[in-house]
Structures are given as C-alpha cells and as structure tokens.
Subunit: 279 residues, 2 copies
C-alpha cells in the first residue's frame, strides 16, 4: 500500500535547522518526504558536488534553492551568479530571491526598489542561459527596511513584467509564502495573475504566530498553529495552475530546539491534515 | 516676533504617555504647540466635560480622537456611538477608527473584513447626524490578526467608497499614519486618491525603528530616528490637498520613560527640521 501522506511535501532545510544536510536528506528518505528545499549555507557545509550527489541518489526533488538577491548591496553580482550555478549543480531550476532592504543609512525606498528591478534585469539573462528561474519572494512589510523592499505579490509581478519588457527573459516569477503575504487584501487576485502568467515558481507555507516574538524573524509556526487559513492558499495556487510541491519553511527557535525527526513528523502530520481539509 | 516652529503641529497625548491630560494641555500651551490629539482613556480620567473645557480654554485645536472601531468584537455599537458623542463634546469632527483584528479563534480574514465594512456602514449615518467624520486607520500588516484587518490605504479607501454607495454618507475617510503605511508600493498613488476624494481626515507621523523591539507595538521613534522618508509623506498629503495638522503619535517605552516636557521639546525640534526639509 502506497503511503500518500507526504505527497507533494517538501522539507525546507531551515525548518530542521539543527540537522546537517546529510541528516535532513536521511530524514526525508526515512519518513517518505519526496521534496527538499535547500539553503546555500547548508550546501556549502556539505560541499556542492557532494550535496548534489546526496540528494540525487536519495531520489529527492530539490524544490528550490535559497537564496540569491540582496540587490541593494554592493557586489551582489558575483554572489548571485554563483547561486545560479549552484542551482544547476543541484538539479533545481528555482532560485529564490530575497531582494534586499534599504542600503545602510538610506531612506530612499523608491531608489532601492528601482535598484532591485535593475539587478533582476541584469541577472535574468545569465540565469536563463543556465536554465534557472528567479523566484522573487515578497517578504512581510515588517522586513521592508532590512531584508526585502519587495513587500507584495503584486509588486513582485510588476517587476517580473518589467524585466520581461526590458530583457525579453521569461524566467522571472515569484515565490508564494503564506507567512509573508497572508494579510494582503489583493493576494488572491495576485495569485491568480501569477498563475495565469506561469509565474508561480515556488510555494512555501508556515503559519503566522501571535504575538510576534521578541525576534520578529522567528514568529513562524507549524501549519495550523497560527492565524492563517493556509488551505485557502493551497486552493488558490492550485486553481491558478500551480502543480508543484508544498514546501514547509519555518523559522522558530522552539522548533529549532526540537529534534529534527520529531519536527519532521509534525510537518508531515500537519501536511496530511492540510490535504484532508482540501477534500 | 512670532514663533513659527510649532506651526501645524499637534501632540498626540500618547506620545507623552506619562502626562495627564492637564499636563499635556499645559505643556502644549507653554511650548506653543497649537494642536492636540486625544485618546479616550485620558479624556475619561479627566472627565469628558472638564476635558472639553480644558482644551477649549487653552485655545488648542483637537485634531482627532482615538479611537473607535473594533468592529469584529461583539457589542461594538454602544462604544462607538459613545466615541462619536465624545468627539462632539470635545469639539473635534474626526474619530480615528482602529477596525479590529480577527475574532478570537477565527482565521476567516475575508469575513472579518466584511464585518468591518458592515460596521462602518452602520456607524456612518449616526456619526454624520452628529457632524463627525470617521477616519479609518490602516495599521501595519504585522497587526492584521490582532488589531486591524485594514492594512493598506487603498483598502481603507475601498471601504469608504463602499460605505458611500451603501449609505450615501460622505463622512468616511482615512487617517494617514507614516509608521503603518510607509512600505506600501502603492502608498503615494493612494494618498493622491484619498486627497482627490477629500478623504484625508488626519495625518499622523512617527518613524519606524529597526530592529523591531520585543514588543512590536512600541517600535516607533521620533521623526528622523528611523527608516521613513517622512518629508515625502508631508509633501504628498499637501499636494493631495490636505491642509490640516501634522500630529505626532509615538509609542515607545524609552520615550515614555522620558519627562514629558523633554519629549515635547524633541517633538518640536524634529517638526521644525521636517518643515525646513520641505522648503
């Protein structure tokens, strides 16, 4: 009898932060999780070629590599070209972009946003030549100043459209992450727009916890533990034509302090409940 | 020689939280601040009629009363009618609305937003009959779940439009607060829209501090201490036709721990610098 519980599930390796890449891959294999979302730091620890071999031999689909971006920093080019090359080596065609915040000391948000569009337009042709797609990830507006001046899905799609006009490249899309965009009054219309344009490249889920913890970055929870109607987002991306994985990416100190195999069991349980909610 | 430094300045009484209403009014008079933004808790402490007499005799303009709203709670009606009546007694025609978050245990954001529109549509005719305008305040998306399901200026204006269609009432507008909406890619277009419709009823300023403090509610700073280009917002509301006060509302524990007269001096200094930046 086939076990369908972990169908379409991908474990982002930061969810089980205490695990090395080797442990994460072994955990996925053991618990029947078919997808894995990688971060460059964990790949670097294990070695790029060794990581590629490891996930390939384990039969895992690499659903995304996090992350390129930070276009508002000097010298972003070399690092982003390397990230594209790492995607190729790892066998994934999706590079997630966290675009960067305001440059230090600047309050010129419009200029920072223009720099992001310019940077993506500069990177897109290289990525396209390597068969890699760029998934712009809008981050929650609470991270606008220091991490990502792209705050909404609509804004990310406008950038993708602009890059297509400027460069002819069709390889720019979005990463839909429930935690960052659940509050947006326009979000479902923009998911529909993204799907119609074939721009939903990655779909990440976790919940938004209340109250926001002392470190605002870590206020993410297992699916079902927060305030987001995550099933409505799964339905929306599916109706928009997205057929890919549901990648679970959680930043949360308490979860990070939990043994990885236990966290992964919870991830699978919540994923199963989520899929059941859709039926 | 006339002192122009505090022209168009209004002190929101929560900025000098340690001050009683009497102390805040005396401070404004002493330092030449012509406007004051009131909160209902401080008015209640001092007594409604006594508060009205106090500000009137001091010659202060009451730029807003905070706050009505919380339409997603049961029994919001009586409290909001009372808030409207308090506006009349205090001689202000602007009631600021913090609309409320998700009802306890609910994840139905669409329903909460519909309840807010229904609530405002129900309140608007009463407010209009009393000569009071309702200023919907979009709150930063980080407060969407627990304080305000209205997260953008565009969304607030859509509600105002909808209420006008349903009720014929023209007394619903917005409170533009830099802290809450500075990150919004559509914000300047929406300020223009709000101005064209005559819907900018209040303009509050403070800065957005990085990093976000442990209590996310308190990450507001004096103008100039954070990441927002506040001058660009003053220009925008002016170009949109807003001729009212610039009300300084800051929630910040360190500022609250500072003596009120010192805080008010800083508020005036920053206001003067802000006006100079516009010239």
């Amino acid at each position: 009898m086939t076990d369908h519980t972990a169908e379409q599930l991908s474990l982002n390796v930061w969810t089980t932060k205490g695990w090395s890449l080797g442990e994460a891959v072994a955990g996925c294999v053991e618990q029947g999780v078919p997808g894995i979302g990688l971060w460059r730091d964990k790949v670097a620890e294990h070695g790029l070629e060794a990581s590629a071999k490891l996930v390939r031999e384990a039969g895992l689909t690499v659903t995304s590599l996090c992350r390129g971006g930070f276009f508002t920093s000097p010298d972003w080019q070399a690092d982003n070209h390397a990230a594209v090359d790492e995607c190729v080596a790892l066998g994934t065609d999706v590079l997630v972009l966290v675009v960067g915040g305001l440059p230090s000391g600047s309050r010129d948000l419009a200029a920072a946003r223009a720099a992001v569009t310019d940077g993506i337009a500069e990177l897109a042709p290289y990525a396209e030549s390597r068969g890699v797609k760029l998934a712009i990830e809008p981050l929650h507006p609470m991270f606008c100043a220091d991490r990502a001046v792209v705050s909404t899905l609509g804004q990310a799609l406008d950038i993708a459209d602009e890059v297509a006009v400027r460069t002819g490249c069709r390889n720019v899309g979005v990463c839909v992450d429930t935690y960052h965009i659940w509050w947006d009054p326009q979000v479902f219309a923009q998911i529909e727009r993204a799907g119609a344009a074939g721009r939903i490249l990655a779909f990440q889920v976790c919940d938004f916890l209340i109250p926001i913890p002392a470190d605002a970055l870590l206020g993410r929870g297992h699916v079902g533990d927060g305030v987001i109607d995550i099933a409505s987002f799964v339905r929306a991306v599916r109706e928009a034509g997205y057929k890919g994985f549901i990648e679970v990416e959680i930043f949360n100190q308490e979860i990070w302090d939990t043994p990885g195999d236990q966290t992964l069991r919870t991830v699978i349980d919540r994923h199963t409940q989520l899929l059941a909610e859709l039926d």
